[in-house]
Every structure is written in structure tokens, then in C-alpha cells.
Point group: C2
Chain length 215, copies 2
């Protein structure tokens, strides 16, 4: 069983913009990222039909299991239950966290996206295990994302006792600014999956996190 | 608890093409259909975000509960669980029925769409309680629907022992042809919700079904 208190959130890979084609390439990139050292994988795909998503999620889970990394499903509690994922990540437009927690059970990881102190506190009360906070930088992955300041990130971090994973536009160039804020991790999409060499990109994030963490 | 063996499938309302606006009008039409005598309601909405769907589903459930009619969610097991719907309806591109049955439990209604004898038999093995079979007529609601013949409907009906609900392009004008095949019900979308008077339309379907059933 997942030890929820021993999760390494430091390099949190979020997969996105998978168009239903090129499945082998998509899985290969995820595997490269796992080899490079991402510590958690979240599948976030909104466009696929349920069966296609189910099949894809099972394949990704096979990879994360091989690399002993927790696997989280975005939004879809049904899929998280169906493939027995390690957890579920909810945005503010997904199921209420309290409802998801009841159906998911206490053993699974539950993450909630928060842009404000109010959302963060509510998520904590509703049973979230960690928060995804952002966007900390502008991002092309999510056009409608609200950008929050470093100061807002600090306020959210101070308001809750949950681990914080910062998300949104994080690259190797700007990640240091965020890691210095002592977040539990940085969530990365295109800076790893869009890199020419996802393995090296993931390894570089890992190294950067560790270097700053010990200082 | 739902008595799965006493379900009246005869006038099975499927809601569709709800665009996220005009929620009050949409709910009003469903209520009119319930007043007119629809015997089951399925919420089939693919376009809404999860939270909006959750909120809408809870409102529809309030109506179906008031009229003592079973309420089924299309595709989304997460929502069916979250709002404690009476059941789930799965298409061939949704979760495998066997997986859904395991997560849904034995007490809930599980419907599966089938276009062929093979799909119908598999659904029966996988734990379906009833089958949605169609499209029996061309339909604008689902552009990519395969049209099946009356003969194909008969073969499916003969191959399984499950109740059959025919679906696809069913109107007051053509429903008689299908009801004569001794199906458990006809699923109707636009011929009720798109009618000027959904209550009268639902009542007319109910009357038609009963008239043919007793002959």
C-alpha cells in the first residue's frame, strides 16, 4: 500500500495534450522521464473518450509501477478507481474534494488545485493530501490559467500544513525561484515531455531540486 | 433500494445536447416529461466539465426522486457514485462493463449499448441489467450512430435474456413498429425534450406503449 507520508513530490510530471495518436511515442517519453527521475506521474487528458483513456491509463500505470513511482489520475475518479491508481488530482471545476475522498477511501492520494488561500484551506478541510498551486508562471499548456505571484504562493503555503506542488510554466531556467520557496515539488509538463531528451530534462530537474533543497 | 426486477423501461428518456446554458429550461422540460409519464431518465452529457455535470445531475436526481423514477448516468461512473444515481449506462467506448459492475456493486442498474449480437452477449456476461440497442432509425442526436435493421434487433433480442430498450430516431410516428417487437422500452431524446409540449409527448409515448403491449 502507498505510504502517503513518504511521497516524493519533488519532480511531479503532468502529462497533457495527448491527442489520441502516437501512443507509443507518448509512452516512450513518459518512460524516459521516469528513467530521468520524475518522482510522480499525473495523467491529465480531457479530450479522450473514457475507454481510450482507460486503456492509456493502464499502460501508463504499467510504467509507473515498473519505476515504483506513484500514479495519479486527473479529474476522473472513475478511472482512478477502475485502474486502481495511487491517487486522484482535482481542479476546482472537478468533483468536490470531500465527495471524491469519500469514494476514493483514505489510502489513496488526493490532490487539489488551489489558486487562493481560501481554496487551499477548503481543500485541506475536505481531505486533500497535497495542493497543486499555480500557475506560478505563464503557461501555454493551460490558456485560461490564472497567474499567481510568489507572494501569493507564500501565503497559501503559510495557510495550510499540506505539501505544496507548484505548477504552471515551470522550466529549468525558472524552477530555482520556486524551489527556493521550499515547496514539496515542482509540477512540469512541457519542459520535460516537450524536451528533445525527456530523460535528461527530468534528471536536470531532479538535480536542481536536490541542490537547492540541501542549501 | 432499487428493485432491479421491477424496472419499467417503457418510456426511457435520454437527455442530450445540454449546452450548459438555460439550465432552468432544461430542468423544466425534464420535469414536464416526468409529469407526462416517462419511466426512467438517463443524463447523457459529454461536453460539460465534471463539477457542472455533478451539480446538474444532483438537480435532475431531485426531480426523478420526486416522481419516483430511476435515474441513470451515462458513461461517468464517478458521477453515478458521487450522486448515488440508480445506475449507469455505458457505450462501447466507455469503461468495460465488467469493471463498472465491480465498482458500482450489484444493487445498481447497469445498462450497456449494443449494436451487434456479439456486443449484446458480452454485455450480458459482463453484468449488464439491460441493453440499449440501436440506432433503430436515423438520428440527428448522434451523427455517427450505426443504423441497425429490425431483423438485427430481433436477433439481438433472441440472443440474450436481458430487457432491450431500443434507441435512435424514435418518434411517435415510428415507435409502434419497434414496440411491436416486444422490447422492454423505447428510449427517446428529441421527440420528448424537443417537443413543444414535453408532457403531452411523454404521455403519448406512454399510451402508445401500453396500447400495443396489451394487444
Amino acid at each position: 500500500m502507498l505510504d502517503k507520508h513518504a511521497i516524493d513530490y519533488s519532480v511531479y510530471l503532468v502529462t497533457e495534450k495527448y491527442d489520441g495518436r502516437h501512443e507509443e511515442l507518448f509512452l516512450k517519453k513518459i518512460e524516459q522521464a521516469l528513467k530521468g527521475g520524475v518522482t510522480l506521474v499525473q495523467l491529465r487528458e480531457k479530450a479522450l473518450e473514457t475507454r481510450a483513456l482507460y486503456t492509456l491509463a493502464k499502460r501508463v500505470k504499467t510504467l509507473t509501477t515498473r519505476y515504483n513511482v506513484p500514479f495519479i489520475i486527473n479529474d476522473r475518479l472513475d478511472l482512478a478507481l477502475a485502474i486502481e491508481a495511487d491517487g486522484l488530482h482535482l481542479g476546482q471545476k472537478d468533483l468536490p474534494a470531500s465527495v471524491a475522498r469519500r469514494l476514493l477511501g483514505e489510502d489513496k492520494l488526493l490532490g487539489v488545485s488551489a489558486e487562493t488561500v481560501e481554496q487551499a484551506k477548503r481543500a485541506e478541510c475536505d481531505g486533500a493530501d497535497y495542493l497543486g498551486v499555480g500557475s506560478v508562471f505563464p503557461t501555454k499548456t493551460k490558456d485560461d490559467a490564472t497567474i499567481i505571484s510568489i507572494d501569493a504562493l507564500r501565503k497559501i503555503k503559510a495557510a495550510v500544513s499540506l505539501p505544496i506542488v507548484a505548477i504552471g510554466g515551470i522550466t529549468l531556467q525558472n524552477a530555482g525561484l520556486i524551489i527556493k520557496e521550499k515547496v514539496a515539488g515542482v509540477a512540469v509538463v512541457s519542459a520535460i515531455l516537450g524536451a528533445n531528451q525527456p530523460e535528461q530534462a527530468a534528471a536536470a530537474f531532479r538535480k536542481l531540486y536536490k541542490t537547492i533543497e540541501v542549501n
